[in-house]
Assembly symmetry: C2
Homo-oligomer: 203 residues x 2
């Protein structure tokens, strides 16, 4: 009887994820260009050349990190957008989902935050630009719908509001630490309370 026994050596796909996780951590901390493959290999306990058994290039590591993050992000976003919620509830759900993604993919988000802008010009990373377009359509569309339906103020520039909201959500990745004082849901709640109702005391 041949039981499928787990071998001593870590199997391939899991090892890939491990290496990508450490690579993402270093990329996030030092920046992609400032990170050498020797540094990644060091952190992973092996030599630089050995990384090329698992990956084609340094760039393909970055590619895999960013694309798997975006895939998971849009899985969550699409679910929210398909739920047919009202504008305010949609914004709330998107914000909450975003902080959950930061919780799960903090290094990837930090990398995205720093590098996406100039990476998007390269053909290989064209999907970053696509994602950004989809992103704007979802958020800006919801805000505009909220204005026409009378749940959001109409005396603010929607485009400015969109940028503020978007940026504030994602830069959280630069200071957020998993296992800290606040859960992603708590952070989302406070953030939504601030953006929706303001920090000034109502008189």
């Amino acid at each position: 009887m041949s039981t499928k026994k787990k071998p001593q050596v870590t199997p391939t796909p899991e090892r890939r994820r491990e290496l990508l996780a450490t690579a993402a951590e270093v990329f996030a901390a030092q920046g992609y260009n400032a990170t050498t493959v020797r540094r990644i290999a060091d952190e992973a306990g092996m030599l630089a050349g050995s990384l090329y058994y698992h990956f084609d290039s340094k760039e393909s590591m970055l590619d895999e990190i960013l694309s798997t993050f975006l895939d998971e992000l849009w899985q969550g976003y699409d679910e929210v957008l398909a739920a047919g919620l009202g504008p305010r509830e949609t914004i709330e759900a998107l914000v909450t989902e975003s902080f959950r993604e930061i919780d799960r993919h903090r290094p990837a988000v930090a990398i995205y935050q720093k590098e996406a802008k100039h990476l998007a010009t390269q053909p290989r990373f064209a999907y970053l630009a696509d994602s950004q377009t989809k992103f704007e359509k979802a958020w800006l569309g919801t805000l505009e719908r909220g204005v026409t339906e009378g749940v959001f103020r109409d005396d603010l520039d929607v485009r400015l509001t969109y940028r503020f909201v978007r940026d504030t959500v994602w830069v959280a990745a630069s200071w957020y630490r998993p296992g800290g004082h606040h859960s992603p849901e708590e952070i989302a709640r406070q953030y939504l309370s601030m953006v929706l109702d303001g920090i000034a005391l109502r008189t």
Copy 2:
């Protein structure tokens, strides 16, 4: 009679500023580490080695860009903080001043945003960490004072609010374009309106 005539060749201090401006532009667009000194020289219409007539090193360019920006920033901030305004008015003045700085030093702000975190660990850039400490004291202190004086809500985590406000103000440098649709003051006004009163329509 010896009149101090302006020579045909651009004098030294102005040329320095020109070169630093183009360097800052490239640093902001591509990231410091991803920027080669040859690229900067190219953009300035000269060869790589020629830059070293004006500057000691690539790092000293970055240093000068960031330190002159911070000097000017704190000149404005200190003026605001010394004015003895109330918490709400202080926040308003700080935000407005910040957007004015972004208007004047957009590339420097963008570089600061991307690189400050891992630069602050180097001894040469220790003033970045100092500035960050002063920064937190000013903003967080004002927010806390506003809570105790009853002008800001007390049911929000002040530290979270501080981070949100701080980040949102400065990431504006990544999309702001001087000479665009909105003046710095107008952006500050809209941003303050959102943060203070919220985007939800009051019922």
